[in-house]
């Protein structure tokens, strides 16, 4: 019997190694797998490259991982926010590397990795600082920039419900990067509010098919319970 569920957060993040590239779902705190991140902090892996849309909010979740000095590089689209003080201080002190990627290119590069593409030509960023030094091509009269896939060793994502095969459904705008990151990592680890019996998730509404998911861990979650 195939059972991708694990019974503890500790087990969920086991094996994340020093120097790993880790995708973390979420847009701000919506969809951010805070419990998995806390478990990663406790687990101790360091020199991580993190892929996320932002660079942490407040002092929790991703910000706490940064504050614990576990991250050597972050790949994101929008680090600077009203409550990104942890990142701001590390960046200004030269203690974290930043690769700034336009948000749609971040998504497309993650999707390219998940889909097995060697590269993509994207119109976004053409003629800007963020395309400097990159190969460009004119296709049908429009300018494109060559961008390479972003793949990861691990992805930590948050979903609403999962089953033992790793099928996932999400909740509202917490979906954001979860489904695409799940496709682009060697090991995708999903925290869910509830693990349901196989067959309970309507096949017509499963967003992430289990093939993209290696571990599922259940977390009690007030937000999801209110749904």
């Amino acid at each position: 019997m195939i059972d991708k569920t694990v019974s503890s957060l500790e087990e969920a993040v086991a094996g994340i190694f020093d120097g790993a590239t880790v995708m973390i779902g979420g847009f701000g705190t919506a969809g951010q797998p805070a419990e998995l991140i806390d478990a990663l902090i406790a687990q101790g892996a360091r020199d991580l490259t993190i892929v996320n849309n932002n660079a942490g909010n407040g002092e929790i979740g991703l910000a706490a991982l940064l504050k614990a000095r576990r991250v050597k590089k972050i790949i994101c689209s929008f680090p600077r926010q009203a409550d990104s003080q942890v990142f701001d201080a590390l960046y200004r002190a030269g203690e974290i590397e930043l690769e700034l990627v336009p948000q749609g290119n971040l998504a497309a590069r993650i999707q390219a990795a998940g889909a097995g593409l060697g590269a993509i030509f994207t119109p976004t960023g053409y003629g800007t600082l963020l395309a400097e030094g990159k190969e460009t091509r004119e296709i049908d009269g429009k300018h494109y920039v060559l961008e390479y896939p972003i793949k990861a060793d691990f992805a930590l994502i948050k979903a609403l419900k999962g089953d033992r095969w790793g099928n996932l459904v999400y909740r509202k705008a917490a979906r954001n990067f979860g489904p695409i990151m799940a496709t682009a990592a060697d090991v995708t680890i999903a925290q869910v509010s509830e693990i349901v019996p196989l067959g309970d998730l309507d096949p017509e509404v499963i967003v992430t098919p289990g093939i993209f998911v290696q571990r599922v861990v259940a977390i009690g979650n007030a937000v999801a319970q209110a749904a």
């Binding site: 689209s77 929008f78 700034l100 948000q103 994207t122 976004t124 963020l130 509202k172 705008a173 695409i180």
Partner: protein, 218 residues
């Protein structure tokens, strides 16, 4: 010159958004446009974080941390609205499916180059978000900005001095003193705020302008 307030600017932009449009309103000033879209018009607001059919802010106490807009503020979803992942969301933007996006700007050039993401100042932490995708992807890119900086310089310039967001991407600029189109023939003033003269406007904008008012919208 007579100047519109920020709310009047939002109201002015809202007038030009037809029923049935798929629209993305950028963070900051453009977000205000939503407050002035006539209730009788069905307009689909897109939010880059995976919403289509975004509604107003919820009543106090009804906020849901997993139902937010691109500015990470709580919102609601209209009946008929949908959620989707970031790949789909940016396909909507980059793939030319959005009719209109409204963006703020630091500068716009005479040829429609847009600078709105980074001042390039030493010590400034750059953040781009979805601005570059919207700039290249939406069928029409509207900019909404004060014509002058706080220190009185024109934000409409011959060439942007700030780092670009997109090249030749802006179609129309709604300022606090005039509405200006970017056309193959250069910048064309379509509308002046009541009491302002074209000559007065041309004196403060360091780029040649033409005057060609549009017929008043029905």
């Amino acid at each position: 010159m007579n100047k519109l307030t920020r709310d009047q600017m939002a109201e002015r932009v809202a007038r030009d958004i037809p029923e049935g449009s798929y629209v993305n309103l950028g963070i900051g000033l453009p977000t205000k446009v939503a407050n002035y879209l006539p209730k009788e018009r069905e307009i689909f607001l897109h939010s880059e974080n995976g919403l289509l059919g975004m509604g107003e802010a919820p009543e106090p106490g009804e906020e849901d941390p997993e139902l937010i807009n691109a500015g990470k503020e709580p919102v609601t979803l209209l009946e008929g609205g949908s959620f989707f992942h970031h790949g789909d969301s940016f396909a909507m933007m980059r793939g030319g499916h959005l009719d209109i996006c409204v963006l703020g700007a630091f500068q716009v050039s005479a040829t429609g180059d847009l600078a709105n993401w980074h001042t390039g100042a030493p010590g400034a932490i750059p953040a781009v978000g979805g601005a570059m995708d919207l700039a290249v992807g939406a069928k029409q890119v509207f900019v909404m900005m004060d014509l002058l900086t706080k220190t009185g310089e024109s934000k409409l310039v011959d060439a942007c001095s700030y780092p670009l967001t997109g090249v030749g991407c802006v179609d129309r600029i709604y300022t606090d003193v005039a509405v200006i189109d970017v056309t193959p023939d250069g910048l064309v003033v379509r509308e002046l705020v009541e009491g302002n003269s074209f000559d007065e406007l041309q004196r403060i904008v360091p780029v040649p302008l033409k005057l060609a008012p549009l017929a008043a919208a029905a």
